[in-house]
Symmetry: C2
Subunit: 280 residues, 2 copies
């Protein structure tokens, strides 16, 4: 790349950092890339850091020394995420979303990349320091959310299948009891999809009793993996006791009245966590 | 937002544009946001435009007049995409990827957000001017790719299910013949997932004969929708004739020898299209 002026360098570095979250970038990488002195690069980074923090985009952490560099950690601000989640709650409360069986239609919301990115960034924010190797979900509806989260954490995604006719080589299958209808179901994961002893973040779109997530945890034992966190977009508040104790929910569905179609959704336990970027 | 200096403004505008592809942003939005004169904003945009084009990130198109503004169109450069696809071809040729039945294990590659983003950007580049309303795929493995593409096109995603026990309200189901094993299969789409007369881009991870994609096209007829494009990550070259004529493939799998496990993958017909950003 040719030598750039500061103005062009700032644009270039901003995009470079945004597309490489959770990646340590040595200052020499930038210095070589733009044929600039490290001192100029440091000044550029100070400007970018200030804007990122002011805007609630995330933190830019600098590590000094020979093995040092700069790392972009996507974080959301509490005010911003609460505003977004409140809006989503109002959308989820639209009466036409009530489906038979107490389900809620939310595929349209989960089909919008802009919303998924915001929600993914929230999970990436709260699990930023959890030392995770891989994000896991079960097909189908949780997949986009798992990817959005993994993008901001810069981690791979592993998808558990609901059948065992996977065309992915040998697989480990387990049976589990689905919480809502007590039916016995199967889920499976390809042997080669997950290294043994991985540290896993489980992401899903909806949790009622927690049977499916509990099933994923059982499956993970077969891989000697450790669950480092569980994040769900919407949890059901109808249930007295969940099979899972420790999870982060962005929203909580309290009631779906099948007669009046009245739906109540409120922000989840996410907002009790303290994983937000400090606002400028 | 407080008044910003040019340096901070450039960082801010860069991230603002990157997260809002295919969105017309009036110059007044920026002028108001940063308390700056429109002439300063125009100068900033010229700097950003130059870097984006130099870097092969995409185009920044400016529309003059009262209804005018600036729009970021993600585009890839031919050299960059060819380099990435060549690398992916070499990865796909690893002998241990050969699965029984001539399948290829590629879930690990499709599980990496960084790769998905690159591939999604390539599809968004080639279909940038195709006047699309929605990106569609069928569960399971095409979903991440569909989302990555939709993110860069700023469009919603619709997921076709392989069963008809969807918990998404009334659905339209069709039967189709899977090309590879000639079995009759079912796919279905929730009525409320897709507006009638939508213009649709179909994205999938793998195409052999094209039976699944052909099924999606049949299903779309039930919604009076128009197919504006078909993009597949890998097409199989074993097949003499596809059920689909017009599609874009990024890579082409020529042979999987089940005995020797020799796999040959080469760049697809994508590179015959002319949808690349001009490199600086």
């Amino acid at each position: 790349m040719k030598k750039l002026k500061r103005s062009a360098r700032l644009v270039e570095m901003t995009q470079y950092l945004l597309f490489r979250p959770h990646t340590l970038i040595p200052l020499t990488t930038f210095a070589d890339r733009y044929h600039s002195a490290k001192s100029s690069i440091s000044e550029d980074l100070a400007i970018i850091k200030e804007v990122f923090e002011e805007e609630g985009l995330g933190e830019l952490t600098t590590l000094a020394g020979a093995a040092g560099g700069v790392k972009f950690i996507p974080k959301v601000s509490k005010a911003n995420s609460l505003r977004i989640v409140e809006q989503l709650c109002r959308q989820l409360e639209q009466p036409e979303r009530a489906l038979p069986g107490g389900y809620l239609y939310m595929s349209d919301i989960m089909g919008q990349p802009m919303i998924l990115n915001e929600v993914g960034k929230m999970f990436a924010s709260v699990f930023a320091a959890s030392d995770i190797d891989v994000v896991m979900t079960v097909e189908t509806k949780g997949i986009p959310l798992a990817y959005a989260t993994a993008t901001y954490l810069n981690l791979p995604v592993v998808i558990v299948r609901r059948d065992n006719k996977v065309t992915e080589g040998s697989a480990v299958s387990i049976n589990y009891v689905s919480g809502s209808n007590k039916r016995i179901q199967t889920m499976s994961l390809s042997r080669r999809a997950l290294k043994e002893e991985s540290r896993v973040l489980i992401i899903d779109d909806f949790m009622r009793v927690g049977g499916t997530i509990h099933g994923m945890m059982d499956l993970l034992q077969e891989f000697k993996a450790t669950v480092k966190g569980v994040g769900v977009f919407v949890e059901s508040g109808e249930v007295e006791e969940h099979l899972i104790d420790d999870y982060v929910s962005l929203a909580k569905l309290s009631t779906v009245d099948p007669k009046t179609k009245q739906i109540t959704v409120e922000p989840g336990n996410y907002f009790k966590h303290n994983a937000f970027v400090q606002e400028g």
